[in-house]
């Protein structure tokens, strides 16, 4: 099941040129970018691992792409996303966040229904991939 998190995730995967164009847009707006990766793409998992610190004072997308590429080669079997942070007063939030790499087999999520008192149902989503220990969840095929 294809994970749909962040901007553009319902679109076909972005090519490197398209990613570069998005990065250029962020930099033109003065948003610093950061690269994050994870192998636990649960929708509630907000805090992915940081790939280095956020990149401030960059002028050109090439610098960000350099980090994206090193992250993708070091973690070929992880989800990698780019976050752009808008630090303007009043916004101060992630302005754009999109996935730039996803592992090839995406097993998706299992939905558990838990029946409690008064037939009340609580739901839990569990990623099939997290059944395996960290680092072995998306074995490269």
């Amino acid at each position: 099941m294809r994970i749909t998190q962040g901007t553009f995730s319902h679109l076909p995967d972005l090519t490197d040129d398209e990613i570069t164009a998005q990065i250029a847009y962020c930099l033109d707006n003065g948003w610093p970018l950061s690269v994050e990766f994870t192998d636990d793409p649960h929708p509630r998992n907000t805090y992915w691992e940081m790939w280095g610190l956020p990149m401030f004072d960059l002028a050109d997308p090439a610098g960000v792409m350099l980090e994206v590429d090193t992250c993708r080669t070091s973690h070929p079997d992880c989800y990698v996303k780019l976050n752009a942070y808008d630090a303007r007063l009043g916004r101060q939030t992630t302005a754009l966040s999109f996935i730039v790499q996803r592992p090839e087999p995406e097993p998706g999520f299992r939905l558990d229904r838990h029946e409690g008192a008064d037939r009340r149902i609580t739901y839990t989503t569990t990623s099939y991939a997290t059944g395996r220990p960290q680092g072995e969840r998306y074995p490269a095929t």
Partner: protein, 361 residues
């Protein structure tokens, strides 16, 4: 959340099949205009017929290169070899761009440079201009300049250098990375110095990202020679070794004129021969730093002129008096002392006390 599996089943779109998916656009979305690509990559107009003829002069005027080169010529005195090299680079970029239009693909030219020359010969000034110049020539995407010295590149403990250097390089991408006093990067006397680690990363990026960043090293000739001898890889990766010649007296005089003009001063007609004499004497002295010495001389003449006006017999001044540098303002300099090695600096009030700015750092 209900039935997430089925609802979100967007077709996997051939990830990793390597086929470029171009022509993808989102209405009303945050799609930035594609950044200008270096013209050597695929050129402005992709393909011309093999038998087409291009008017290079028209191309040239279209890019506005001439304006940039003329401005450089007008604003910088002397430096003939430097200007010649810049004109060559401009021509090469123009030709490359035209070649690309015929579909002749070329690897982006290697534009890393090394500026060597005596103190005050304009190395830093030219480097500052180089970024804007290469941007206008269409080689650099952003054309900003990041000036660093050893401190910004080399870390203080193990494992600190690499991220620091990479960070600087990332910031410089799309522009020029100017490393002033580059020979400090390598300290031959200390084997465990982290400078060599920094050099390694620099070399790697200079090789693999030559269309993203232009690295300019600057330093004094003798020190840079030693630096390159201990880092042969660096020397061979730099295509343009440009030597900045020392200025002649005429050029120094022009420079003095311009500096005075920028400050809103003029030399009185009878100051001319004195200025020339001053420059000649100054050049013969040790620690002469070309344009930097001239700048200091003009600054000191300014001080003496101010003092002359304030302490003068006639307290009334007019515009001419305020802007004119008289021979006396220059003649007060220590350079005109009968015994050249006067051991009492500052004996003449505002005379060149300590010679602070004239040291070759």
């Amino acid at each position: 959340m209900r039935g997430g599996d089925e609802m979100c089943a967007v077709r996997m779109n051939g990830l990793g099949d390597g086929s470029p998916r171009r022509g993808f656009a989102m209405p009303g979305s945050a799609v930035a205009p594609t950044p200008e690509v270096a013209p050597v990559d695929d050129g402005a107009a992709p393909s011309l017929a093999p038998d087409a003829v291009v008017d290079l002069a028209a191309e040239r005027s279209a890019t506005g290169v001439d304006g940039v080169l003329d401005a450089l010529d007008a604003e910088l005195v002397g430096l003939a070899p430097v200007k010649a090299r810049i004109a060559e680079i401009a021509a090469l970029l123009l030709v490359d761009r035209t070649r690309a239009r015929f579909g002749i693909t070329t690897a982006p030219p290697n534009l890393h440079m090394c500026f060597t020359g005596g103190p005050g010969t304009g190395k830093t000034t030219v480097a500052l201009r180089m970024a804007g110049l290469l941007h206008r020539l269409g080689y650099l995407r952003r054309g900003h300049l990041v000036t660093v010295t050893r401190d910004d590149l080399v870390g203080q403990y193990v494992g600190h250098t690499a991220p620091k250097t990479r960070d600087v390089l990332k910031r410089a991408m799309g522009g020029v990375l100017f490393i002033d006093e580059a020979y400090y990067l390598h300290k031959a006397e200390n084997e465990r110095d982290y400078g060599s680690e920094s050099i390694e990363i620099l070399l790697q990026v200079m090789e693999n990202h030559r269309d993203d960043v232009v690295v300019i090293l600057a330093g004094y000739a003798a020190e840079m020679d030693v630096f390159f001898r201990s880092n042969p890889g660096m020397s061979s990766r730099i295509a343009h070794h440009i030597t900045f010649p020392a200025y002649t007296v005429d050029e120094l005089e022009q420079i003095a004129d311009r500096m005075a003009d920028q400050l809103g001063y003029v030399f009185a007609p009878d100051t001319r021969p004195v200025l020339r004499d001053y420059l000649e004497r100054r050049m013969a002295r040790p620690r002469f730093a070309n344009a930097r010495s001239v700048r200091n001389a003009v600054e000191r003449a300014r001080l003496r002129q101010a003092r002359r006006l304030v302490d003068g017999a006639d307290p009334r001044v007019d515009r001419d008096a305020l802007t004119t540098i008289e021979p006396a303002d220059l003649l007060a300099s220590r350079v005109f002392d009968p015994e050249p090695d006067g051991t009492e600096p500052g004996e003449r009030g505002t005379a060149e006390g300590c010679g602070s700015g004239t040291m070759p750092e």
